[in-house]
């Protein structure tokens, strides 16, 4: 199981003892296709590692843009990736809604217990936050790629 956690980028650099202590906080959960795993605005009480499946992340459109308050998919995570990192960042509220597109299996780590562990073990906390920064930076780069591509599509003559 320790090897299972170490394949996730956010846990790169953790030693076996640190990984074992994280596993003690983890619970395996399964979701059918179409299930809402968490909603935008809910308290972020779990940090999730995707073991199987594909999960779409949706954002609610502002009412001014969409009277029907439709959600749009802005990201997706697949096997080997993490979601729900809002559980580690104030104000600990999910900023997106997660919907499984396929049957999904996740390892759910309790957010408040993880934060307590990080506060008590600063070395572990530093390693986790370093890993988290890489995840967030990667997501930001992907989002910029979408923005640039959409602008190019908008200005390219058809």
């Amino acid at each position: 199981m320790a090897i299972q956690l170490q394949r996730y980028d956010i846990f790169e650099g953790l030693d076996d003892a640190e990984t074992e202590s994280l596993l003690a906080l983890a619970v395996e959960k399964e979701y059918p296709a179409g299930a809402v795993i968490f909603r935008e605005g809910d308290p972020a009480d779990e940090f999730l590692l995707v073991e199987e499946g594909k999960i779409a992340l949706q954002m609610r459109l502002p009412a001014a843009l969409s009277p029907a308050s439709r959600k749009v998919a802005v990201d997706f995570v697949a096997k080997g990736e993490v979601l729900g990192w809002s559980a580690l960042v104030e104000p600990y509220v999910y900023t997106l809604t997660a919907v499984s597109l396929q049957k999904a299996k996740v390892l759910a780590i309790n957010g408040s217990k993880l934060r307590s562990m990080m506060q008590n073990d600063h070395k572990l906390g530093y390693k986790l936050m370093s890993g988290l920064i890489k995840v967030v930076a990667s997501r930001l780069a992907d989002t910029r790629e979408v923005l640039v591509s959409e602008r190019l599509v908008a200005i390219t003559p058809s």
Binding site: G34, V72, D75, Q102, V153
Partner: protein, 236 residues
């Protein structure tokens, strides 16, 4: 609302041509199902749904949002967005989102796979196969989007393999029959054939002897005087 003669009108969408072919073939296997449109991205799927108003929209969850974004990883969430838009705006179209097409089509080999998949969804944690017509008939009108998957149909695979074995047996068996008949004809004609060969051999030998004899004949002809030489000898 179904079309003329109870036909079920279906829209399919995926930006992979092989996947679109799979969805079209799978839909057409059902009697009375007509594929009325095909889309290669989410925006196009919504546009076609609005104009064609199909009974069922069958969407790949991996659709890019619009043209030109198919290489952008994060844009491949267009399937879900298109599904939500169609289910809200185009009633009573039933919308099915297939979440595992990329796993099934690209991780498993074989063009034969196209004829071996069926639709399946979880009902109380149990995977249940379904047809488009069943889903259209049984799903309540206010259901938003149905999340489903494609799965290999083991019975269809076995059926296909057995059919291939039978067809190969028929072909090779037919070739064997022809070879056997040819052999029988050869055996039946063995005696006349041998007689013909011997007679032909005799004719060849005669021909060779005659040619030899003719090759000797110019030596005998050179002893007779030429006509002109006879006249000179008479005068001399």
């Amino acid at each position: 609302m179904e079309g003329r003669n109870g036909e079920l009108r279906v829209l399919v969408a995926s930006d992979y041509p092989r996947v679109r072919d799979l969805l079209v073939e799978m839909a057409r296997e059902e009697p009375g199902v007509v594929v009325v449109g095909q889309a290669e991205n989410g925006a196009r799927a919504v546009t076609l749904a609005r104009s064609l108003r199909p009974d069922v929209a069958l969407l790949d969850s991996n659709l890019p949002h619009t043209i030109g974004l198919d290489r952008v990883r994060l844009s491949r969430t267009g399937g879900l967005d298109a599904a939500l838009a169609i289910s809200e705006e185009v009633k009573p179209t039933k919308v099915i989102v297939l979440g595992n097409l990329d796993n099934v089509i690209f991780q498993e080999e074989g063009a034969a796979l196209i004829s071996e998949v069926t639709l399946r969804r979880e009902v109380e944690a149990i995977p249940v196969p379904f047809t488009l017509r069943q889903l259209h008939k049984e799903t309540p009108e206010n259901d938003a989007v149905i999340f489903a998957e494609v799965a290999r149909n083991r019975k269809k695979s076995l059926h296909r393999r057995l059919t291939e074995i039978c067809e190969a047996t028929i072909v090779y068996g037919s070739l064997g029959i022809l070879a056997g008949l040819g052999l029988m004809i050869t055996i039946l004609l063995a005696v006349p054939g041998a007689a013909l060969a011997l007679a032909s051999l005799a004719v060849v030998v005669l021909g060779l002897l005659g040619r030899f004899a003719i090759s000797l004949w110019p030596k005998a002809a050179s002893a007779l005087p030429e006509y002109g030489q006879l006249e000179v000898s008479k005068q001399g």
